[in-house]
């Protein structure tokens, strides 16, 4: 048999594969009490996410990397919520690493993060609960073998955490089919009879959903369903230095993987991250108030801008990145579909960038590239 390793084939392996060694080390040395159905103790889950602070775990030589930057108390609350009766709903603006956090939590708790329902406007109740292998259904009538389980069904059956991405993109009536499952922890399959007709959730089962509350194209959530969830807000990174560090690291990684030998100068990265932070918060460091664009200025977007700026510098420039590359690439990020945003970006340049242009070369070249904004 050939060894067919998922990490060799997959474009992006799930995090239980990516961090298999860390999970293994934690499992081996975990001294805490494991709740039933959990692969790790709550403390170890926390360590998996916030890192072991450069210390090796137990007797192994493995250190646990910090995977989520931000509020550690949020992680405590998330873990404790998943221990309890209610589901966990992570809310926040796009690009704040909600999905990553949900993936990490389910990988650490259940050892698998792939039991995922992707919510869309077209999601049906079948996709959430179960559907049928119709050929077999017609041939042999309803029986367990003909049932096609959904990720939720499987998670209930085996006591796992099921992820529900973008739950608010589903129609409210469809979302509401979660209500009875979450409060009674039972799924009825009326087509079957006997003990097969009711699926009782194993211990360890819970629902971990993510949602954008204010994005376009999302639906309201009924208060009945709201009551079944604990809401946790994931905020963008507020610390400028930390965000600069993260964006620089991730941009450099992307550029390296793309085989583009362009460096990320610190002053250019500062321009990039400052712009994102200012526009996100609606105020510059010195307190100047700026208008917030309607698009989301997430860290992930900043990395995307940095990466494109690097590509542009390499293929169309002289190979060194400066403020003008950022300015040009910023357009596509900030100006998505709302013409008002062009005005806001221009105001930002007039009010904030102009004043900073004297500060450094990167800001200067950034300011000089403002002409590209008039399109």
């Amino acid at each position: 048999m050939t060894v067919d390793r998922i990490e060799d084939r997959a474009l992006r392996p799930p995090c239980e594969v990516l961090f298999a060694d860390e999970l293994e080390a934690l499992q081996a040395t975990d001294g805490g009490k494991r709740p039933e159905g959990w692969k790790l103790s709550p403390q170890a889950v926390r360590t998996f996410i916030v890192g072991s602070d450069e210390k090796t775990v137990g007797k192994t030589s493995i250190t646990i990397r910090r995977k989520f930057y931000g509020d550690d108390a949020l992680i405590d609350r998330c873990i404790v919520t998943l221990l309890g009766n209610r589901g966990l709903l992570l809310v926040g603006e796009p690009g704040t690493a909600k999905s990553m956090l949900s993936e990490l939590l389910s990988a650490a708790i259940s050892g698998v993060s792939t039991h995922t329902i992707q919510g869309t406007a077209g999601t049906t109740e079948d996709q959430i609960k179960y559907s049928w292998n119709y050929a077999m259904l017609l041939a042999e009538g309803p029986k367990p073998a003909a049932l096609v389980p959904s990720p939720l069904y499987t998670a209930m059956k085996h006591g796992l955490v099921v992820r529900f991405e973008e739950v608010t993109r589903c129609q409210p009536e469809i979302q509401d089919c979660l209500i009875s499952i979450m409060s009674d922890k039972v799924l009825n399959v009326p087509e079957l009879s006997g003990s097969d007709a009711t699926l009782f959730a194993e211990r360890g089962f819970n629902v971990l959903a993510t949602a954008n509350i204010r994005d376009r194209g999302v639906h309201e959530m009924s208060s009945a369903l709201k009551r079944r969830f604990n809401f946790e807000t994931v905020n963008p990174i507020g610390d400028r230095k930390l965000e600069i560090k993260l964006v620089t690291e991730q941009t450099e990684t992307l550029l390296r993987e793309a085989g583009v030998p362009v460096a990320c100068p610190p002053d250019v990265m500062e321009v990039l991250v400052s712009t994102f932070q200012d526009l996100r918060s609606g105020a510059a460091v010195d307190g100047t108030v700026v208008e917030r664009p309607s698009t989301v200025m997430s860290t992930a977007e900043a990395v995307a801008v940095g990466f494109s700026a690097g590509l542009e510098a390499h293929y169309f420039g002289n190979g060194s990145m400066d403020g003008s590359h950022i300015a040009r690439q910023l357009l596509g990020t900030v100006l998505k579909d709302n013409p008002e945003d062009a005005k806001k970006l221009k105001q930002y340049f007039d009010v904030v960038v102009k004043a900073r242009a004297k500060k450094s070369r990167a800001w200067q070249s950034y300011w000089e590239a403002r002409k590209f904004l008039n399109r």
Partner: protein
């Protein structure tokens, strides 16, 4: 000095051992910590010390009797006030205006759960002698001054300050490692959660260790700089003296902030036989026991002096004294139920059910278990609320709820002091101020007073006093006449006329506001802060103008140094301002504030130019929207446009505002060609006029604009609108611009009678701004277009003298008749 790990440990061990000796016990506390209080009470009952020495100014000792009075009900505070009459601390430099002797005020608050109060109460119960041992407040200030601290502004501070602990880098890192968000959470995590299961000795050792590391981390200069060294020496001398006077079988208990406790034993040994140096205070000092409130305490805690959320810890203390086995859980349960009730009573969007309360309690308890606490601490409780009660995102739904929870945890309690505590300091302060202003309050007669607020400093101060009292709703003075800086009216007046009278209500009004502060200034500051908070809570509904008006009011009251919050609020409001007219109005108000130098003294506010700039930038940003301005706002929009030009002219000498932004935005409107909108032509006219009169548009460009908008557009209303806009900002165009008159002449000739009648009102509106002389000029030009040089007879001669006289008499008869019927206003 760097030590190796072993040396470190042995030094720490020595320090810890010195705290707990048979003759003397040093109890390290954190101010307002129930855990410390509980352990302290236990220790006092066990050790039964003969003398208890408490950190606090020596001169407070006589007040102990009042504090222990059965009528006294915390929260209370000792208020102390010091005026540097001998000018030891502050002398103005030659180029500065003299602000008078420096003034300092400080509070020493007590709650039921304050370790200091517990020491007094339990000690008194067991018959111990109790004394305060710290330097007097005036000496503390002098000591800090000697060490180099600058005093250039009046201060109100807390005598329970713990900045050294809160600013310690070591403790900050420790908090980070422990996964705590801040200093308070870490304190709760380490000390407030499972103190009941620890022995007193180990509790003392742990608190002391904690403080030891904070102290190791604080440089000697910093400790010297704020007078800590001098204070500790004084405390050490007092302790040494007490030690000498006791028998060998008696014990002294020293209760001080932990930061001092660990240094004191060594200092006491060093002090030897030195007796405490006699008081060196100079200037006038005053102190009084006053009623205090949890809200004030919470505000004071904002300045790093003790634990937050007084009501939460007060509840915890109640449970502790009732002997509850699980105080944390009981308090958490009670609070969660109360929060649920509150949301139901306030009919919030999503009111909370009992099931939510149960879930939140479970969450808080699980979190506590997860973090290793025996019961939910304050942050565990708050996290339970965050998880289970907030149904939405934290920065929207969460803000309202967390606001309610914050208020609930702060509490509203106001303390009581016995009658023997004397007249509240604010009344004394009022009498002093009145005396200084030479006002007569010997009877309750109404008196007039005219204040020269521009010329005389002392009159300005009296005016501020009056404005402050009015703001505090203390009935005393009424402003009869004077300039109105808020609305920019009657600015030509240089006097304020007031009428004042002392009434019994004046003093009762003062007592009512005493809880806001111990001087009129302080009470005003706190009330202002409250008003600002309210303004903030009102949210986006209110314009920047309201905030700027409040800033002007603050300047009227002389509170320039306390406007930081207001200034940042204005900055936010300006950023949110959706209306061009309002943004310009705010900018104009700020300009007025900045320019009216003496009476408002706003030049002391360095931020005003920056805010003015922000308001100006916002106006420029909103300017392009004017093209679609609703018709009923046109008049205001035109006025705002015109006033922007004046603003630029007024601010240009100092290059405060970036003119280009305005002109670019203005020129941008002309390029949008949004002629479908009914207001666009009018705005175009106004902008054309502005650009032309500023020399940013040539004659031929203006001609083009005129032809385009007058001839090129078919809609008569829009044509006249353009004319109205143009003449509003550039009246001279009417007689200087031949093209304008020609075009106007052409279109008027093209109108038939009904069309002319329909636009006549707008036409009148457009031309109404011209003065009679200008009207003549225009008329002459128009006559010229028709080949005439003379206007002909303009005066009406068809009425004879007799007819005129008859009509005048008739008018008088009619007016009299109307007046007889009480309808005289009809005739006006």
């Amino acid at each position: 000095m760097s030590l190796s790990a072993t040396e470190f440990t042995s030094e720490l061990e020595l320090t810890l051992q010195s705290l707990f000796t048979p003759s003397c016990v040093y109890f390290p506390i954190r101010h307002h910590s129930p855990a410390c209080s509980w352990q302290l009470a236990k220790l006092i009952r066990e050790v039964r010390p003969s003398v208890i020495l408490v950190e606090g100014p020596i001169s407070f000792t006589p007040l102990i009797e009042n504090i222990l009075d059965p009528q006294t009900k915390p929260p209370i505070a000792i208020y102390t006030h010091f005026v540097d009459n001998n000018r030891k601390l502050y002398k103005p430099a030659d180029d500065e205006t003299d602000l008078g002797p420096a003034r300092f005020a400080a509070y020493y608050p007590f709650c039921d759960y304050s370790p200091e109060l517990v020491a007094l109460r339990v000690g008194n119960e067991l018959g111990a002698q109790i004394r305060f041992i710290d330097l007097d407040y005036s000496e503390q200030v002098l000591a800090a001054h000697k060490a180099g601290e600058k005093f250039d502004r009046p201060r109100i501070e807390s005598l329970m300050e713990e900045g050294h602990l809160q600013q310690s880098q070591y403790l900050k890192l420790l908090a980070q490692k422990a996964g705590c968000r801040d200093f308070n959470e870490m304190w709760d995590h380490l000390f407030e959660s499972n103190f009941q299961s620890r022995s007193t000795e180990s509790f003392i050792r742990e608190v002391a260790t904690y403080c030891y590391f904070a102290r190791r981390d604080t440089s000697a200069e910093v400790i010297e700089f704020d007078g800590t060294v001098a204070r500790e020496q004084a405390m050490a001398s007092s302790i040494a003296e007490a030690k000498r006077s006791l028998n060998s079988d008696q014990t002294i208990l020293v209760v001080t902030g932990g930061f001092h406790s660990i240094a004191l034993p060594q200092l006491v040994d060093d002090a030897g036989d030195r007796s405490p140096s006699p008081s060196q205070s100079s200037g006038s000092i005053q102190q009084a026991l006053i009623r205090y409130s949890f809200e004030q305490l919470e505000a004071l805690n904002g300045y790093a002096s003790g634990m937050p959320s007084p009501d939460y810890y007060d509840r915890l203390w109640q449970k502790l004294t009732d002997g509850s086995a699980a105080p944390h859980a009981e308090v958490a349960t009670a609070l969660l139920v109360e929060i649920g009730e509150l949301t139901r009573r306030k009919e919030m969007q999503l009111s909370l059910s009992t099931a939510d309360e149960i879930a939140a309690l479970q969450q808080a308890q699980l979190l506590a278990a997860f973090r290793g606490h025996p019961g939910p601490t304050r942050e565990d409780l708050l996290d339970g609320v965050r998880s289970c009660f907030v149904k939405g995102s934290m920065d929207a739904e969460g803000i309202v709820l967390m606001g309610i929870v914050g208020h609930l945890l702060t509490g509203k309690d106001i303390g009581e002091v016995p009658a023997s505590a004397g007249v509240p300091p604010i009344v004394t302060n009022f009498r002093k101020e009145v005396e200084r202003a030479r006002l007569d309050i010997s009877d309750s007669l109404k008196r007039q007073l005219s204040l020269e607020i521009y010329r005389r400093e002392n009159h300005r101060r009296t005016s501020r006093l009056f404005h402050s009292l009015n703001f505090l709703s203390v009935p005393f003075a009424v402003l009869v006449a004077g300039p109105d800086f808020v609305n920019g009216k009657r600015l030509e007046r240089i006097h304020e006329r007031w009428q004042y009278a002392w009434r019994p209500q004046t003093e009762s009004g003062l007592v009512d506001v005493a809880v806001y502060g111990s001087t009129i200034e302080e009470a005003t500051i706190n009330r202002l802060r409250e008003a600002i908070n309210r303004l903030e809570e009102e949210g986006k509904g209110r314009s920047a103008g309201a905030a700027v008006s409040m800033l002007i009011l603050a300047c009227r009251m002389g509170l320039h140094r306390h406007t930081d919050q207001l200034l940042s609020l204005i900055s936010v409001k300006i950023g949110d301002e959706p209306s061009f007219v309002e943004a310009v109005a705010a900018a104009n108000q700020l300009l007025l504030l900045w320019q009216s130098r003496e009476p408002l003294e706003a030049h002391m506010l360095k931020e005003v130019p920056a805010l003015l700039r922000a308001a100006y930038l916002r106006s420029c940003y909103l300017l392009p929207d004017l093209g679609q301005c609703p018709e009923n706002e046109l008049a205001a929009a035109l006025d705002s446009l015109a006033s922007m030009r004046e603003m630029l002219a007024a601010a240009s000498p100092v290059e405060l505002l970036d003119e280009e932004l305005f002109w670019q935005a203005a020129a941008g409107i002309l390029k949008t060609h949004n002629h479908a909108h009914p207001s666009y032509s009018t705005i175009c006219g106004a902008i054309g006029g502005l650009l032309f009169s500023a020399g940013r548009m040539t004659q031929s460009q203006l001609d083009e604009l005129v032809v385009g908008n007058l001839i090129g557009i078919a809609d008569a209303q829009k044509r006249v609108g353009f004319l109205r806009g143009l003449l509003r900002t550039c009246r001279e165009a009417a007689w200087q611009n031949a093209q304008l008159l020609k075009a106007l002449n052409e279109i008027i000739e093209s109108w038939d009678e009904p069309e002319f009648i329909s636009v006549l009102p707008s036409m009148r509106l457009a031309l109404a701004d011209l003065t009679p002389r200008e009207t003549d000029k225009v008329a002459t030009r128009v006559a010229g277009l028709h080949g005439k040089s003379e206007l002909g007879q303009l005066l009406e001669f068809r009425v004879t003298e007799g007819e005129l006289e008859f009509n005048r008499r008739l008018t008088k008869i009619v007016l009299d008749a109307l007046a007889n019927d009480g309808l005289s206003h009809w005739g006006k």
